[in-house]
Symmetry: C2
Subunit: 220 residues, 2 copies
DNA sequence: GTCTATAGAACGATAGAC
DNA sequence: GTCTATCGTTCTATAGAC
């Protein structure tokens, strides 16, 4: 094997043995994200990840060193994915306001569905939360900063703009964003264990609606 | 715990081989709670639990069947422990109000410290949350009902009483209790991954204070 | 004498690492 | 593909309780 010293060819090289195979690495990362998210860290076996990625175990060890490094790498690399999705939702629903309460409601609902819904957008995030006590502080902070905190800063910026337009009465935009998330998201996150179990749609909409009403009593 | 069939006598019965040994079972349950809470489900070995309990592995299997049953039993049996602690705090701080904002503040702070603080009051709860996807719905619901939901109902009752006294303006006491928890607790729970990492005292008090102020703007 | 609980060794499977 | 460690589980023998 010894992949580093195999044929040098600069050609596209679809076959195995090329000098660098970023697509293999990416396949491993994707597979690891899937399996870690589905099984959790300890239950996920390197065998299962290799099978999911369609590579041999040895390839994983060559690329990532060991299981822990693989997990931490994937945790860091995927930290920003959901942030961008949520930023897109905020831009779509909060950029041009037509009905403040309705627009906030739709944004909050879409965000909750994106994070907690059936898809595995956040499956790895669940595992990261579960393993928080075993993750080095720097990696944890990097994940927080590229993930949840980034979404919060983005939301605070939106609220600042809405305040400038006179649609909201906000002094501390960061605090308003935090409390918006608490009132419209954290309840559902807690009730579903961050998406691990299903929440009936009616309960989700009821919780979000009540949260939006409280938020507008505070800042409307 | 084990309400109906507790030990009949006051006799010490130190020797081995007695017909029923509930104190061994309790030692196992305590040890399992500790080790599961500290290590998580998959990392916790039956060996480690046996060592912590001062008991042989075989004894664990005789009492609980297998590792999964042991975990689920302990999860159910310890569900109400923290609930009673929090109920005591609520009774202490919310029964006789002298300064509404200060009393709510103290209660919220004490509760957050009790749940998220260094002690392992909630360590097993963290593991239960992490394993939610692998826990049978009925067990999960029983844990929720004896734990977080029970605390919430208790808090709602307090708020109902305070509303009757004219100290709060609350229509839906359950909703008020939910939003109180969201505004004064969930932020810290989220930031610490339910107590897995430490939160500086200053940040905790700042978050709680801001949450109480918002709550009183909503219901004061 | 029989029953039950205990301790500690032993087994089979699995997973991480090379 | 192989090695090695570990884990969940089971088996065997011992000893007190009825």
């Amino acid at each position: 094997m010894t992949p580093g010293t195999s044929a040098t060819s600069g050609a596209p090289a679809p076959a195995t043995g090329s000098r660098r195979m970023p697509e293999k690495r990416q396949a491993i990362a994707r597979a690891a994200s899937t399996v870690f998210g589905r099984e959790g860290y300890t239950r996920a076996s390197v065998d299962a990840i290799a099978a999911e990625a369609g590579v041999s175990k040895r390839t994983i060890y060559n690329h990532f060193g060991d299981k822990e490094k693989l997990f931490l790498s994937v945790a860091l690399e995927t930290a920003g994915e959901l942030t961008e999705i949520i930023a897109g939702l905020a831009d779509r629903h909060l950029h041009k306001i037509v009905d403040l309460e309705a627009d906030l409601n739709t944004f909050a609902l879409d965000r909750a569905r994106a994070v907690l819904g059936a898809g595995d957008h956040y499956a790895l995030g669940r595992t990261i939360r579960a393993e928080a006590g075993n993750i080095p502080t720097e990696v944890l902070n990097a994940w927080l900063d590229a993930g949840p905190l980034a979404s919060q800063r983005d939301l605070a910026a939106h609220f600042g703009r809405l305040a400038d337009q006179g649609l909201l009465h906000v002094e501390d935009t960061e605090l308003a964003a935090t409390q918006f998330t608490l009132l419209t998201f954290s309840g559902a996150a807690d009730a579903t264990f961050y998406g691990a179990i299903h929440l009936p749609e009616a309960e989700l909409t009821a919780g979000v609606t009540a949260g939006i009403r409280a938020f507008l009593r505070l800042y409307g």
